[in-house]
């Protein structure tokens, strides 16, 4: 009960309280009739005072008083003394109501309303707040009111910062004070007048160390520390993290389903698309909106690309995403010699790209790549079944093939950030025997990896992985959280250098030696580092612990994906694959799909399809009961242009489901290794 003692009522107390209730009822009745008759006499107003003193929740009475005040003010505007005394009376009523219930929304709101009239002394408000905040230093109504008063009076933010410091030094555990400090500092740092992050943030680290090292078990300091870390690492303005094609790269394009026989050029940069277009992918460090042909200009001689359409790779309904894609057409029907085109992409020359927090993409960026368009090879490659089990050869990657892995260097003012993180790491290595100490150290080490100019060594990631391994054992209640962080660190490690990444790259013989990225058997529970893997066309994620494909939607070139032996539990977990227009081969065998399907008869609806668009769909009309039963599969599969699907070893797999699949996916040739009978 929020720290309040409960006590039983004694009989005499009950009698008193019954008498009080009778009184209240009569007050209420009189008040209501005054309110509806719009009676604003002194007696009527006094009556509402009595009512509010007993029951501050009576919001109708607060409104009545506002109307009554307005009524008097409209007649007495020329008498400032009277106006002031009326408003002071309102403040008094609020104060006694707050004494009755400190958490009354109506009372606090009424006080703000009075203050906005501008006739009251604000100094009183701060004194009153000090009194209240001493009694209950965590009351969020009081803190909200404090922020309101400060804003209204233009009290300096520095003074308020000092106030939070006083509150914190009285009690390190007062998270409300820490929170307010972060809000104040954010706005001071944003203005940057005398408040430079490179000076202030290191000071803040010192302040929070006092709290953390005084009482290691207290959460408040740790959360503030996390905020500081965020301020140290992240830049508010959105940046371009990577693109495909990358700057300076040379890509080979070919139409048709088959591929180039000759592979003098790197397989990594060869794209065969039966769509006659290739995706241009922009990957930002945070979700942005406003990517369009006016904010991104693409100059090339490739014809038919005058009005490029940029689409966010995310929710259809949402116009922000960290991944944006446009499809550039290329012609390959002309006589058979390669043609070379230069493509120049300029981002952010005109304003309009804005983060979801409202920050502008302010550093224009330009990159150039060349595209060789090859003649279409008419070869029917449908016959090939991708097996995943053998036919992989070590790939002799040359570092120049992978030079796109180098980060786009756009970060500004890195030095103080690196130094601050370095100092924290030193400090927390000494404290890393506690759970929160280990977690903080792991986060600091990840932060270092993110802002180091020349990347960090594998051994650095080993330390992070070790910390998360420890945490999984020490703190099993947060196991899944640590597991996910561990996966993120593992993938950062893999993509941290050309050497480590090339260990996972193989040639697949059966598909003209296409390059396959094999991240199998890494016990991954989550996908990360996708921004460095935009080039991947064939990906093996088998034998991991993935629950979802979230993140893969950015890999717009992906055509073959192996997710077998993971922990996918439903087709809805594969939803992000709908964005992959090139995907042709999908292996989701040996997962848990269908094991806990949504039993729609048990839950709310006969099916979510009951009154939706599917009835307009041919398959939906013909196979109503199957579609209703497998609605989640239906929604994902009908958007995929698969040629090969492997789904054996799942609960959902069975004759009934197999009847539906080819109807929903008419392009399908192979199902579980068998040719689909048409």
């Amino acid at each position: 009960m929020h720290g309040r003692p409960r006590k039983a009522y004694k009989p005499e107390e009950e009698a008193a309280s019954a008498a009080k209730a009778v009184k209240l009822r009569s007050l209420q009745n009189q008040f209501m009739s005054n309110h509806h008759a719009k009676i604003y006499t002194k007696e009527a107003i006094d009556l509402s005072t009595k009512l509010l003193e007993i029951n501050p929740e009576a919001y109708t009475a607060w409104n009545y008083r506002k109307l009554a005040v307005e009524d008097t003010l409209s007649r007495e505007e020329s008498n400032p003394d009277l106006v002031k005394s009326i408003l002071d009376e309102e403040l008094k009523v609020v104060e006694s109501a707050l004494r009755q219930n400190f958490k009354s929304y109506g009372a606090w709101h009424h006080r703000k309303w009075v203050l906005r009239k501008g006739h009251s002394s604000v100094g009183n408000e701060l004194r009153l707040l000090d009194k209240f905040q001493t009694l209950d230093s965590r009351n969020f109504h009081a803190w909200n009111y404090r922020r309101f008063v400060v804003e209204l009076t233009n009290r300096s933010k520095e003074d308020e910062l000092k106030y939070t410091e006083d509150m914190i030094s009285k009690d390190f555990s007062n998270y409300s004070a820490w929170h307010n400090r972060s809000v104040l500092l954010s706005s001071l740092l944003a203005k940057a007048e005398g408040f430079m992050p490179n000076e202030k943030i290191p000071d803040e680290y010192k302040l929070v160390h006092d709290a953390i090292f005084t009482d290691e078990d207290d959460q408040s300091g740790w959360f503030y520390h996390l905020w500081l870390l965020d301020q140290t690492v992240n830049v508010e303005t959105p940046l371009l993290t990577s693109s495909w094609p990358s700057h300076g790269s040379c890509i080979n394009l070919s139409g048709g389903a088959g591929c180039l026989k000759d592979s003098s050029s790197s397989k990594l940069t060869t794209l065969c698309s039966d769509l006659g277009s290739f995706p241009l992918i922009l990957y930002f460090d945070q979700a942005v909106g406003g990517v369009s042909s006016s904010t991104v200009t693409v100059d090339s001689e490739l014809r038919g690309n005058e009005d490029l359409v940029w689409e966010p790779v995310s929710n259809k309904n949402s116009q922000v995403s960290s991944v944006w894609v446009a499809h550039l057409k290329f012609m390959s029907s002309e006589p058979c010699f390669p043609k070379e085109y230069t493509v120049k992409v300029r981002i952010g020359n005109s304003p309009g790209i804005v983060s979801s927090r409202g920050c502008n993409f302010s550093t224009p960026y330009e990159f150039v790549f060349t595209a060789h368009v090859h003649d279409t090879v008419r070869e029917d490659s449908q016959e090939v079944v991708v097996s995943w089990t053998d036919g992989f050869d070590i790939w002799d990657a040359q570092s120049k093939d992978l030079n796109f892995l180098v980060n786009l260097d756009q970060q500004m003012g890195l030095k103080w950030r690196q130094e601050a993180i370095e100092e924290e790491i030193e400090l927390f290595r000494a404290l890393s025997d506690s759970k929160i100490g280990k977690l903080t150290l792991a986060r600091l080490l990840m932060a270092k990896a993110m802002i180091s100019e020349n990347g960090v060594k594998g051994v650095h990631y080993e330390e992070i992985l070790e910390l998360y391994n420890d945490l999984m054992v020490l703190d099993s209640s947060h196991y899944h959280y640590y597991k996910d962080e561990h996966s993120v660190a593992s993938l950062h490690k893999v993509t941290s250098s050309t050497e480590s990444l090339s260990r996972h790259l193989f040639r697949y013989r059966d598909m003209n030696n296409s390059v396959c990225l094999r991240l199998n058997n890494l016990s991954l529970s989550r996908i990360a580092s996708v921004e460095k893997l935009l080039f991947v066309q064939m990906l093996d994620l088998s034998h991991n612990e993935l629950h979802s494909t979230e993140g893969l939607e950015a890999m717009q070139l992906l055509s073959c994906l192996n997710l077998s032996h993971n922990r996918i539990r439903s087709f809805s977990a594969l939803d992000s694959l709908r964005h992959l227009k090139q995907l042709r081969v999908l292996d989701v065998s040996h997962n848990n799909i269908g094991e806990h399907s949504v039993d729609t008869t048990r839950y709310l609806c006969s099916s979510p399809l009951s009154n939706s668009e599917w009835t307009e769909d041919e398959v939906g009309r013909q196979m109503t009961s199957l579609v209703t039963k497998y609605w989640d599969a239906y929604f994902v599969l009908r958007d995929l242009n698969l040629k090969q699907l492997d789904i054996a070893g799942n609960m959902i797999a069975g004759d009934e489901f197999y009847t539906l699949v080819p109807q929903v996916v008419p392009t399908l040739v192979w199902l579980n290794g068998h040719r689909v009978r048409s």
């Binding site: 209501m32 029951n55 409104n63 009154n611």
Partner: protein, 394 residues
């Protein structure tokens, strides 16, 4: 006295089997739903009740005085239906502060009865409908009692009560058109909603407005315009959501904000990773949940935070069907949430490396959670019936 009288001796404690035999019963479709549920023990029911009632109105609970809190906790604790029925008849004088919240009392009690698989008799049902009808303002919305100013929170309670009662009479007692006008009047230019005319703007108001509009099928662009931006401005750096821009993150508001974003189909705009992180770390060493950073663990937060976690799991861990269909939003989202929930529960109860927390709490209420709609907190079959009715009404 709280508004409507009923003679306790007339109350039938009808078992749910009987409910479906009743000729005037329109809930036939949901019948099988309840029959298939595994039977739950009394203590499980009790636990469920505790969790749910607090979930029902966390922020109100936090802001109310001791007498009110005591009453709410007693509803939750007491497993006797008689107590609940009695509460509908008459509350002791110490509950006078609930005077501005009478629809809430109806909701807590009637919802609790429904959660127990029971329903009130016709007299009581008619009384409740009549009483709430008198709370309904002539230009839309419900006040805390007859003659009181329409208020979003009491409107939410009234609508949920009527949905829980179910049936043509209860549904058609709601003036949808006027309710839409009321909601539009409460809409502020900053995208958020006011609790009542000249009242405060906050995330509670946003949630109650959108929950009402969604059940009554009156959501339109005017109501949702700028709302996502407003909620987004209340998300703090830690990932949780505060009551208003600049406020400290708070479990109750975080639920309201997240549910609002799901209902208006803009949940992707929130920083879900940091929200997940925030919720995970609200769990203290005692394995309970805190409402805010560094507050004492309190049982009443358990449902909120776990419910939050559940909503999130269905959107984050399972990837997801976020955007598929615009039109049948309610069906769709509910199914989606539930599929995620079902996945989460089963996953956690089966895994060898299951954390104790999730086994204790999620596993514990896995059986009971099924019949409640996570976004509106009304019993599922009542929700279905209402949605069908209001889709026909549109």
């Amino acid at each position: 006295q709280l508004g409507f009288r009923v003679d306790l001796s007339q109350l039938n404690r009808r078992r749910r089997e009987r409910r479906f035999e009743h000729p005037s019963n329109h809930r036939g479709k949901g019948g099988g739903v309840m029959e298939e549920l595994p039977s739950i023990t009394v203590s499980q029911r009790e636990q469920f009740l505790v969790e749910n009632d607090v979930f029902g109105m966390y922020s109100y609970f936090d802001s109310s005085d001791i007498a009110t809190q005591k009453f709410m906790v007693e509803i939750q604790r007491d497993k006797q239906l008689d107590y609940l029925m009695n509460g509908l008849r008459q509350l002791g004088p110490s509950f006078s502060s609930l005077d501005a919240n009478r629809p809430w009392v109806c909701y807590w009690i009637i919802h609790s009865i429904a959660l127990l698989g029971e329903s009130v008799d016709d007299d009581l049902e008619n009384n409740a409908i009549d009483f709430l009808g008198r709370c309904q303002g002539s230009d839309g919305g419900y006040g805390g009692g007859p003659g009181q100013l329409p208020h979003l929170a009491t409107s939410y309670a009234a609508v949920n009560t009527l949905v829980t009662l179910g049936g043509e009479k209860a549904f058609s007692s709601i003036n949808r058109e006027q309710m839409a006008c009321f909601l539009r009047r409460m809409k502020d230019t900053n995208g958020g909603f006011r609790m009542h005319n000249m009242g405060e703007i906050d995330v509670r108001a946003c949630y109650t407005a959108i929950s009402i509009a969604s059940i009554l099928n009156i959501v339109d662009d005017e109501l949702t315009r700028g709302l996502g931006d407003y909620i987004l401005s209340c998300q703090t750096y830690e990932g949780g959501i505060g009551g208003e821009p600049g406020s400290e993150a708070h479990g109750g508001y975080t639920y309201c904000g997240l549910a609002t974003m799901i209902l208006i189909n803009e949940v992707d705009r929130l920083n879900l990773d940091s929200l997940m992180n925030w919720i995970v770390h609200r769990q203290g060493v005692e394995m309970g949940f805190q409402g805010r950073t560094n507050k004492l663990v309190d049982g009443c937060y358990t449902f909120w935070q776990v419910n939050l976690l559940t909503l999130l799991v269905s959107f984050v861990a399972d990837g997801g069907f976020r955007d598929k269909l615009r039109k049948p939003r309610d069906f769709y989202h509910t199914c989606y949430c539930l599929s995620g929930l079902s996945v989460a529960q089963h996953a956690w109860s089966k895994d060898e490396d299951t954390p104790p927390l999730t086994r204790d709490i999620l596993g514990g209420y896995a059986n009971h959670l099924e019949p409640v709609h996570l976004l509106h907190n009304v019993v599922m079959d009542r929700y279905n019936e209402a949605i069908e009715f209001f889709h026909r009404a549109a």
